[in-house]
């Protein structure tokens, strides 16, 4: 049991917390770890040893579909208690970290203004329309989502997410929340050892957790990050500068950016696809194909497949019902090679790199990097 999120690497944009704020964070991280690492396996065991056999006694066979598993589970006080606990922890997380961010928001905004004049660039587009799929639901039950601005030059969502996701993952994303981005870059290097991209684009970059590792993995390359959400981009830009990086961030829709054809060698995304509905994912692949130069690579870190086992599939969809992530299944069940071919890639150029040791493997057993190289 670690449950110790205070190991997050400090940087100029990370919120400062009082003794008691740190202690509340630690409690929430411990709750997250307890439910994911201890309770989740017990729930599975209870299903296998008690609930499924009891169902089989009455119906002749164990539940064979997700709907039947749902009927069994939603009648289980253990599952409902677990779900309430995980949902309650999630709401408590954002409200607790949010209080600390709100307290120091004016100072954070000033710091961001100073930091981002020093290095890299930030281009915002207040007229960019927010797609309905993002506007309709605050994903992760994070109040305001990534896009809401509560004041001028706002960085609230970025500051909230940077600290919040660290507590959420009980430190499992690494001291800079960058382990998935490091893994994406490593997968590209492993797959294409001689590949030396000069221009790199990170889609749905958020706070830039996965953007900075690209600059580390490919020194000298120009790195661009795009996102729909201005508060994330302001924060990402200032955070990158605070950590000594010169990156470029702009507010654009990843499914139709401003750049001309053949502008990039490498295009990445991390945990983006599972928050997008299927048509938007396919549009994003087409945009990747358009933006890549011949020989260029797209690489997306996310779910690799949807589980076949009805219990696993039911639990994988937990976030859809309980954590405001309505599109998780759309990416999980996507026939990735078909999506790539539909966007113009050749089926022979599609690749998959599984990451069995990745974050929260007890729950997300099937994550990794998928992509394709343009001919």
């Amino acid at each position: 049991m670690t449950g110790n999120p205070v190991v997050q690497s400090p940087h100029a944009m990370l919120i400062e917390e009082t003794h008691d704020e740190r202690a509340r964070d630690a409690f929430i991280a411990s709750l997250r770890e307890y439910t994911m690492v201890e309770i989740y396996p017990r729930l599975r065991k209870h299903y296998d040893e008690v609930l499924a056999p009891r169902y089989a006694e009455r119906h002749g066979a164990a539940p064979a579909s997700v709907d039947r598993v749902r009927t069994v589970m939603e009648a289980s006080p253990f599952y409902m208690g677990y779900s309430l606990l995980v949902r309650g922890t999630q709401e408590l997380l954002w409200d607790t970290v949010g209080e600390a961010v709100e307290r120091q928001l004016p100072a954070l905004i000033e710091k961001a203004q100073v930091l981002r004049t020093g290095r890299g660039s930030l281009t915002l587009d207040a007229s960019l329309p927010l797609p309905n799929y993002t506007a309709a639901v605050d994903i992760h039950v994070m109040p305001g989502g990534f896009h809401t601005e509560i004041t001028e030059d706002d960085v609230f969502a970025g500051a909230l997410y940077d600290r919040g996701v660290h507590v959420f993952a009980f430190g499992g994303l690494g001291p800079l929340n960058d382990e998935l981005g490091v893994a994406t870059a490593a997968a590209v290097r492993q797959q294409f050892p001689d590949f030396a991209p000069q221009r790199i684009l990170d889609l749905g970059c958020g706070a830039g957790h996965a953007t900075l590792p690209l600059a580390d993995a490919f020194p000298g390359a120009e790195v661009q990050g795009v996102d729909l959400a201005a508060p994330m981009l302001r924060y990402a830009s200032a955070r990158a500068a605070a950590l000594g990086y010169s990156l470029h961030f702009s507010q654009q829709d990843a499914t139709h950016t401003h750049w001309p054809d053949a502008s990039f060698d490498l295009i990445t995304s991390t945990l983006l696809l599972h928050e997008m509905p299927r048509p938007a994912i396919l549009a994003l692949f087409r945009e990747c194909h358009r933006l890549l130069r011949p020989g260029g690579v797209m690489a997306h870190h996310d779910l690799l497949r949807w589980p076949d086992d009805p219990f696993d599939a039911f639990m994988m969809a937990w976030t859809t019902r309980h954590n405001n992530e309505p599109y998780e299944r759309a990416s999980g069940t996507l026939k990735f090679p078909d999506g790539c071919v539909g966007a113009g890639f050749d089926a022979a150029d599609v690749f998959v790199v599984a990451q069995p040791g990745a974050y929260l493997e007890e729950v997300y057993q099937v994550s990794g990097i998928r992509g394709a190289r343009k001919r």
Binding site: Y34, P77, L84, E91, L92, G98, D138, P143, F156, R321
Partner: protein, 120 residues
């Protein structure tokens, strides 16, 4: 209390699902969870005072705020949090509710429904 811009405290999207017998039961549990975070923070603050006292440092506000626990102290606190969470959530995470056990007994399931179903 901060006087600057105010954050939103509830997420946009579908209504919170109902988990227990009704939304009010769910809300009460979520309040207990927030209160448990306060108890845990209070307990760590007390521990900070004790650590400072053991080191002969007066527990003034500055010393409390800047206290950095050693690895051993951090590990002991993590273990204490885990134990407290285990106690607080025991009933909520009971594998079979008493009602289910009673029903299964009255149907003459022929076994001991409570046996072998402890979470350990």
């Amino acid at each position: 209390m901060a006087t600057g811009p105010k954050r939103r405290r509830f997420a946009n999207g579908p209504p919170r699902p109902t988990y227990l017998a009704g939304v009010d039961a769910d809300r009460a549990v979520m309040m207990i969870l927030a209160l448990a975070a306060e108890v845990s923070a209070l307990r760590e603050r007390l521990d900070t005072h004790e650590q400072l006292a053991a080191a002969g440092v007066p527990a003034a506000l500055d010393s409390v705020e800047s206290f950095a626990p050693s690895e051993d102290v951090a590990a002991a606190r993590a273990a204490a949090r885990r134990s407290m969470i285990d106690r607080v959530t025991r009933v909520l995470l009971e594998p079979e509710s008493p009602r289910v056990r009673a029903a299964s007994e009255s149907h003459g399931a022929g076994d001991s429904p409570a046996a072998g179903e402890s979470p350990e």
